[in-house]
């Protein structure tokens, strides 16, 4: 595909609470063996996009550790491949934190300008979905659009989200900020645009001190450019709150969601391989309706859970409706309901922790409870 991709991988908010205390949303663990950014990266390689820049701002060591040299996504290349674009790397970067995508794109402009690809795919690193950008590009080219904005029909808009008004495929208005009610054309913060046009639009907007792609580029040019929408009809959710995080993990217990995300003919979701041995079920294990990653050792009861790699569930422990992240241990006779246990934590023998569906208890990385 004649396109390069830019993935924006820095936090805009702290709605993920402790989950993003020591990492960016893109590197939050999800689905037992993935990080959120695996979806964005795999979608790129599955769409035959082989030049990918990841824009980071802070808190990105865990992201760098995860993506490494990009080999797992076959993005370790002599030409092109994966580029981490950290702040302060440019000799002329005197800016402070990025105020918005336009600042970030300005800082990455050398990277963009040096590319030979005709198009740029812009996306956040926070979406869980399996999308074929080649199909989007085909529509983009067929409709002779200047910008194609990807959206989904959804009624879960929250304050700060962006929605589009469409006439046919053409976007006629951009709704910003206001809490949107009912089913809307919610922006997925994914765009396709010609590289040269992006360069021009960003330069122009930056000179005026503008910050927001949606407000200052898309909305401002609704009449002067051909800006079209592309409806993505598959499963797509953004990891933008603890509730969404919990829900997406639970969604993956459904066969149709799992098949669409992970067994999609469009391509697999790749992640860093950790070479854990298969999960061990010992005598006394009782597991129901759960996703279990390699390296787990299970002796207790588990229901409606996602267990990440290397989790241990002790004898007589009962864990339900919970997410246990990698290498955490739930010791014997402990009892957890509606709990998210971050990495490397320990829940002591006999301990009971009970959250509620819309307010899970969150146990931080490395904590001993």
């Amino acid at each position: 595909m004649n396109a390069l991709a830019i993935i924006f991988a820095y936090a805009n908010n702290d709605k993920l609470k402790e989950l993003t205390e020591k990492r960016t949303p893109a590197s939050v663990p999800i689905g037992g063996r993935y990080r959120v950014v695996d979806f964005a990266l795999s979608n790129m390689i599955n769409s035959n996009i082989t030049k990918v820049g990841i824009i980071t701002r802070n808190n990105y060591q865990s992201l760098m550790d995860h993506v490494g040299n990009g080999k797992e996504w076959d993005l370790s290349r002599k030409r092109d491949g994966l580029y981490i674009l950290p702040p302060y790397a440019q000799y002329d970067s005197n800016m402070q934190e990025y105020g918005g995508w336009i600042d970030a794109l300005s800082a990455a402009m050398t990277f963009i300008r040096r590319s030979r690809e005709k198009y740029v795919v812009l996306t956040t690193g926070e979406y869980v979905c399996n999308i074929d950008y080649e199909e989007v590009l085909a529509q983009h080219e067929k409709s002779e659009a200047d910008i194609t904005c990807i959206y989904r029909r959804d009624d879960r808009g929250t304050t700060g989200d962006i929605a589009y008004t469409l006439e046919g495929d053409r976007i006629t208005d951009v709704l910003l900020g206001a809490g949107v009610e009912g089913e809307q054309n919610m922006s997925m913060d994914m765009f396709i645009i010609e590289r040269q046009m992006l360069e021009n639009l960003v330069r122009e907007a930056a000179m005026r001190g503008q910050k927001s792609l949606a407000r200052d580029i898309i909305r401002r040019h609704l009449n002067t450019l051909k800006i079209f929408g592309y409806e993505f009809k598959g499963y797509a959710r953004r990891v933008d709150s603890v509730q969404a995080y919990m829900q997406i993990n639970m969604d993956m217990l459904q066969e149709d969601v799992r098949e669409e995300l992970f067994n999609n003919p469009n391509g697999r979701i790749y992640t860093k391989v950790r070479d854990e041995m298969p999960a061990q079920y010992l005598e006394g294990a009782r597991v129901r309706n759960s996703l279990v990653a390699d390296g787990c050792i299970i002796e207790g009861e588990v229901e409606n859970c996602v267990l990440a790699r290397g989790v241990r569930i002790g004898k007589g422990a009962k864990v339900s409706n919970s997410i246990i992240l990698q290498k955490s241990e739930v010791l014997a006779e402990a009892h957890l309901e509606h709990v998210i246990v971050d990495k490397d934590a320990i829940v002591r023998t006999g301990r009971t922790l009970i959250g509620r569906e819309n307010l899970p208890v969150l146990i931080g990385k490395g904590m001993v409870i």
């Binding site: 298969p278 079920y281 005598e283 996703l291 279990v292 990653a293 996602v306």
Partner: protein, 398 residues
């Protein structure tokens, strides 16, 4: 100095493995799936990289596709190196004619050029059909300290089984005095594990000598080792203790998988000694609302809705609702249909077992008789495969 390799490994992966029957019909023995997510060759390859040996030649001539594409660029074992790494070494044409590998020694002989290019001091010789974890670097350090010409890893086996092995008789310093292939009256219980370290210059000399001998069968065990012993070369035994299993038969393959379910036999949870493998990118395995799983291994991409106990379930395998799996191995992407019963069985890659089919069964008396359904075989609904049967063609309902 980086370009020169101190020790490289040569892995003999050419064996046809005919005792494994239908399982090796379309792949070489080292490519056979093992332990839920591995293939046999993962063990020697992982042992190499964990021992600091990053240059491995894999000698292969039989059904190499599955093995070649499995090894690929070596990345899963961290062997996608610019210098060194893993190389597939098939026979080739020299001068006008080509020559297939006629024996283990001939296979190495034909690849003298490859070894010379890497210019190693020592060559480690490995087989592709053993399951074990071993630090070859410790063995190498002993070899160097002993100023040995060859060092052979040995394992103490029960005396009553010793006559099934090649037995090394060594003096108290560990120097080998005698080698007996499957002796009727073994003098010791030190069995050769088929793992050798040679000082390359010395081995090179004996390979050339052996190649010129028209009566030689060009085999390490039969020719090279006895000849070196006869010549008084310094041959040392290296004592290994730990889990080691030759998986060259259906029974031993099944047993070795079952061994993984026993604690403390072979620890694969070892962060300091990972066994690497190439796995397809799949989601964690899913266990359904009506499933039960106990004393078993499950891995990525498998979906269990039935009842699994004392079994090893590979990636992508699917066990339908009501199906019962006991003491069995269900290989990658195999499907066990609803209410099927699979006991004391090996179900090959991508095989389909129909609903209510019955595969194998518990032993009436004596040793278990393992039923085998070959790769890609379909067993129809309600069909029966008896204990000990090996199916290499589709099975109709009886």
């Amino acid at each position: 100095m980086y370009l020169k390799k101190n020790c490289i490994a040569m892995l003999l992966a050419g064996g046809q493995g005919s005792r494994l029957g239908v399982l090796t019909k379309r792949m070489a023995k080292p490519a056979i799936p093992f332990g839920g997510k591995y293939r046999i060759i993962d063990f020697p390859l992982s042992n190499c990289i964990n021992s600091g040996i990053d240059t491995v030649g894999v000698l292969t001539q039989y059904q190499p596709y599955v093995l070649n594409s499995y090894i690929g660029n070596g990345q899963p074992w961290d062997m996608d190196r610019i210098r060194g790494g893993v190389s597939i070494l098939p026979p080739y044409v020299r001068g006008k004619d080509g020559e297939w590998y006629t024996g283990t020694a001939n296979a190495i002989y034909q690849n003298i050029n490859y070894i010379d290019m890497n210019d190693p001091e020592y060559v480690l010789l490995l087989s592709g059909d053993h399951i074990y974890k071993m630090d070859y670097d410790r063995m190498l350090r002993e070899h160097v300290a002993n100023k040995a010409d060859a060092t052979i890893a040995v394992l103490e086996v029960p005396m009553q089984e010793a006559s099934r092995f090649g037995i090394m008789n060594a003096d108290e310093d560990g120097r080998i005095t005698e080698f007996e292939e499957k002796p009727k009256h073994p003098k010791s219980n030190k069995a050769s594990m088929g793992i050798y370290i040679f000082t390359w210059k010395k081995l090179r000399h004996y390979l050339e000598l052996d190649e010129q001998d028209p009566n030689s069968s060009k085999d390490f065990g039969k020719n090279i080792i006895p000849r070196m012993l006869a010549d008084g070369q310094r041959m040392m035994a290296y004592n290994f203790s730990g889990y080691w299993k030759d998986v060259g038969t259906i029974d031993s393959l099944w047993e070795a998988n079952m061994d993984l379910l026993k604690p403390n036999l072979l620890n694969l949870h070892d962060d300091g000694w990972r066994i690497y493998s190439r796995t397809p990118a799949q989601a964690p395995h899913y266990v359904g609302s009506d499933a039960t799983v106990e004393n078993s291994l499950l891995t990525e991409g498998s979906v269990v809705n039935g009842d699994v106990r004392d079994s090893v379930i590979f990636h992508g395998a699917r066990i339908a609702k009501g199906a019962v799996v006991r003491k069995s191995i269900v290989m990658p992407d195999a499907v066990i249909g609803e209410d099927a019963v699979v006991e004391y069985a090996i179900v090959g890659e991508n095989a389909k077992v129909g609903a209510k089919a019955v595969i194998g069964g518990p032993p009436r008396q004596g040793d278990p008789q393992i039923a085998v359904v070959g790769p890609d075989i379909t067993v129809e609904d309600c069909a029966i495969v008896k204990p000990g049967e090996m199916m290499s063609a589709d099975v109709a309902a009886r």
